[in-house]
């Protein structure tokens, strides 16, 4: 759990379009930004349950989250205007271990979200590769200056060279492909969550061979903890 058990209310400073995504810039208030890869539960206006988002940027006095409008909750968040307030709980879960020697940031689509704050916490501009499904989606790469960018049908995994400590976030197929290539990688996973603090038991994924709650174990997990994709029988 974060330091306070209740979510706190935060005013929206600005809402910016970034390709098809929306960057929500919230006043930080008393919240800690936490470790990159940790997440926050954001109230989805008009909906019963909050939604989990990893922190994208943490400029002074601010917490910024990148939102992909994929359903009614995320759409409601994208419709917020400066001055609106929402409840925020966090930081939650376990983030990336930062003590790596040769970091390589790997992001797929909205999986870009935690990487700008991760890059900042790693001390500047570590090498990064990003993959997107369209040129419009790839506009979000402006959030991570210096990143190498590919667009479908080229896959981001094609840009991963050996010898790096991979820190990745993206879709499940992408993460499984990264895990197969880089067994030492740290991967940020995603699952539907109602609470974010271990109460709802909704976000289980297979971790260490058993169904475990991603909000407590992750969302960042060592690649070896999640079962490798089943290999086709030779």
């Amino acid at each position: 759990m974060p330091s306070s058990t209740s979510p706190s209310r935060h005013r929206l400073r600005a809402s910016e379009r970034v390709g098809p995504y929306t960057l929500l810039r919230l006043e930080r208030g008393g919240l800690e930004p936490g470790v990159p890869g940790q997440f926050f539960m954001l109230e989805a206006p008009g909906r019963l349950l909050p939604r989990p988002f990893s922190l994208c940027l943490a400029p002074p006095g601010e917490l910024a989250f990148l939102v992909d409008p994929i359903g009614p909750g995320t759409q409601a968040l994208c419709e917020l205007r400066a001055g609106d307030e929402i409840a925020v709980l966090g930081p939650l879960g376990r983030g990336y271990r930062l003590g790596v020697e040769r970091p390589l940031l790997v992001g797929g689509g909205i999986g870009l979200a935690p990487l700008p704050y991760l890059a900042a916490q790693l001390g500047g501009s570590p090498p990064a590769v990003l993959g997107f499904r369209s040129a419009e989606h790839a506009e979000a790469a402006t959030l991570l200056p210096g990143a190498e960018v590919v667009v479908d049908p080229v896959l981001v995994t094609e840009l991963i060279e050996p010898g790096f400590d991979v820190l990745a976030c993206g879709s499940e197929p992408m993460l499984r492909a990264v895990a197969a290539m880089c067994p030492e990688a740290q991967l940020a996973w995603e699952a539907p969550m109602a609470c974010g603090y271990g109460a709802c038991y909704g976000c289980v994924v297979e971790i260490d061979g058993a169904l475990k709650r991603l909000c407590l174990e992750g969302p960042v997990l060592d690649a070896a903890r999640v079962r490798a994709p089943v290999e086709a029988a030779a």
């Binding site: 759990m1 209740s6 349950l49 909750g73 109460a199 038991y201 909704g202 058993a210």
Partner: protein, 284 residues
């Protein structure tokens, strides 16, 4: 009025500071054998509710008794253990081995497992023989005559009722397939409140037993409405997911809700909402 959590809606060991704001903590249901629970996706949001198919994931009786219960006791909050199973003996065996807790809640109504073959009254009677601890029977509002079930469990020795559990429900994705891997799940949240109020009202009328009311409570006013229908205590479920501070909030709002309604306390409100339909009924 005490404020509890609804079973399965809070992990005391993951969030002890939330549990310390409750008057008692109700565990997730314990079954004889460990259960990994349903495959994901397990949860989905609906217009005014949430559907879950967790599938009674729990460490099983032995590990619960050996490892979890001592750690729960160390929290210093009164404990209720929710007991589940697949026949009366399952429930009775677990109940007989519980000690140092405030009450046993018999989960007779989980929508996400196959129902026990024995009737609610048989299960309560078996547990009554197995323990002297207070027994609360958690019933489903899906029964066509829940008041009759309430009378039967009262006659079998239940000390109280927990009302209500989630109701079996389903939601579809864009391609018209069930969102949950299990297909169906249990509906919770504000959609349940009117159903829960009615169930509490008729079961209170039928038995007079102490009732823990639950189903969509989000505010102090909601809790007071349960009291007016006959609930002595309330439990919070889905609201905890969005707001782990809800126990503090609901308690703080109760006084104002009482003042607004012109009652001195939740206890004072009890039975104000007597339902004419229950009074018209010819006594059995």
């Amino acid at each position: 009025m005490r404020i509890l959590n609804a079973s399965g809606c809070l992990d005391a060991l993951a969030a002890p500071e939330v549990v310390r704001e409750l008057d008692a903590f109700v565990t997730k249901t314990v079954t004889p054998l460990p259960r990994e629970g349903s495959a994901p996706p397990r949860i989905a949001e609906t217009a005014h509710g949430m559907i879950n198919a967790i599938g009674l994931a729990n460490p099983g009786r032995e590990r619960f008794l050996d490892e979890h219960l001592p750690r729960l006791r160390a929290l210093g909050v009164p404990l209720w253990v929710s007991v589940g199973g697949f026949c009366a003996d399952d429930y009775a065996e677990t109940s007989s081995r519980l000690a140092g807790i405030e009450a046993v809640e018999l989960n007779l109504s989980c929508p996400n497992i196959d129902e026990a073959a024995d009737s609610a009254a048989e299960i309560v009677a078996a547990c009554r023989r197995a323990t002297e601890l207070p027994l609360y029977a958690k019933l489903s509002a899906a029964h066509p005559d829940v008041a009759e079930v309430a009378r039967a469990v009262a006659a079998a020795g239940a000390d109280g009722l927990s009302l209500i559990n989630t109701l079996r429900a389903m939601t579809l994705d864009k391609q018209l397939r069930p969102v949950l891997a299990r297909g169906s799940g249990g509906l919770s949240g504000p959609s349940l409140k009117p159903i829960a109020l009615h169930t509490v009202s008729v079961c209170h009328e039928a038995t007079g037993l102490p009732i823990v009311g639950m189903g969509g409570i989000q505010t102090g006013r909601d809790a007071l409405e349960f009291a007016a229908c006959g609930a002595r205590d309330v439990a919070l479920g889905t609201v905890l997911f969005a707001d782990p501070g809800a126990p503090v909030g609901v308690r703080a709002e109760l006084a104002a809700a009482c003042a607004d309604a012109g009652v001195a306390s939740p206890e004072d409100a009890q039975s104000l909402a007597k339902s004419p339909e229950t009074q018209r009924k010819v006594p059995a």
